[in-house]
Amino acid sequence: MISIRSVGKTYRSRHGEVVDALDDVSLDVREKEFVSIVGPSGCGKSTLLKIIAGLVPASGGEVTIRGRPVREPFPDVGFVFQNAVLLPWRTVLDNVMFSIEMLGLPGNDYRARARDLIELAGLAGFERKYPWELSGGMQQRVALCRALVHDPSVLLMDEPFGALDAMTREEMGLELLRIWEERPKTIFFVTHSIPEAILLADRVVVMTPRPGRLARVLDIALDRPRAVEMEFDPRFKAYSEEIRALIFRPRRERVH
């Protein structure tokens, strides 16, 4: 469904410094696939998401969605960021409806859907609350509803649970899977947590920095629905070790 073909990105700063954020990245993603992206800081994960969304132009190569090249932002996408970035002057429901308003869609047609999503995300009864009345995890659920309310076919998540504590984080991951199973989407999920990447994804993309490259793409053959106990599965451990080796090996080589 999404084809990333030899995508490269070079940032040029005002002082003429050149940063190779991405180099020759290629990946084909199936419809409704869950892809996790892991890699050390600065390896171009956020840049890759922005190129897929058409927010940042690639310096080379191209991204196509259902055969169509991405050249500008397109609305068939939902975003979730590390921080919920809700609008503090809007209620939960109105924050979810923000997407609909910005897209210029008729609010009346989507309000029921927004309520359903809020309920699905475990926030029933909180429609009229304001962001400051919610915990960090609840705010992030609202952000997820906002990203899903217009029913996009692609969901781009940039360390969406990175600001949450470990316990909430695990719970949110499984909840995301539950929602995804009910409303399947093609998901790109950037994370710094290797277990989280494995537990959620169909495939894990491992990236390495300077320049940002794909080191490997792992198929995760664990059954669905996923459960936390799978972390004790020997395959889980094998994946985890493989990813760890890919990320940490180059650094060790540099030290010696």
């Binding site: 397109f74 503090p88 002057w89």
Partner: protein, 226 residues
Amino acid sequence: MPAPLGIIRETWEWRWRLLGHTWVTLYETLAGFGLSIAVGTPLAVMLVYSPVLRDAVYPIVVVAQAIPKVAIAPVLLLLLGAGEVSKVVVAFSVAFFPIVVDTATGLAATPPELLDLSRSYRASAFKTFVKVRFPTALPFFFSGLKVAVTLSVIGAVVGEFIGSDKGLGYVIVSATSYWKSNLAFGAMGILAILAMALFGLVELVERLVCPWYAVSERDAGAPAGR
């Protein structure tokens, strides 16, 4: 030091004349303050949206701010006459800067993620302004207003000091020259009350317009959404 009782007695004796002078100062203050909002806010919007304009205009605004207003007030009076207009312009000149700077800061404080989100939804720049940037900037705008409104009072009074035959600034200057210190202190007291009342009024409007800010400020000690 004059005794408080003497101040109150003399102020009371002069109450009707003082009321007239208070009205003049209030009127000059509000006109200058209103003018600085009318000019400062659109300018801040332009500064944030146009990098070219920012590079061209911002240094001028800063230089203009660096000139002490007390120093240019006599020149303004010379140019505009000793009437109310010159006081309004002095009040405007001091109130303008905090409004421009704070509003521009607020408009630039929108989380970049929200701008990415708006762009990916292909929302127009105007819609993004109305639904995201402007409300984000409101608490900053109001903190600029709170500084500006008290400065406007000072600006109007400075203008009256330099040359005027009405207003509380004029009362203070002429009462002092006639050794009527009770009356001068009374006028100062009225000025302080006036400035506090205007400040309170702006704060009240702020609470009504952006209640989310007041609440999050109380709870977290920081502006929301940041």
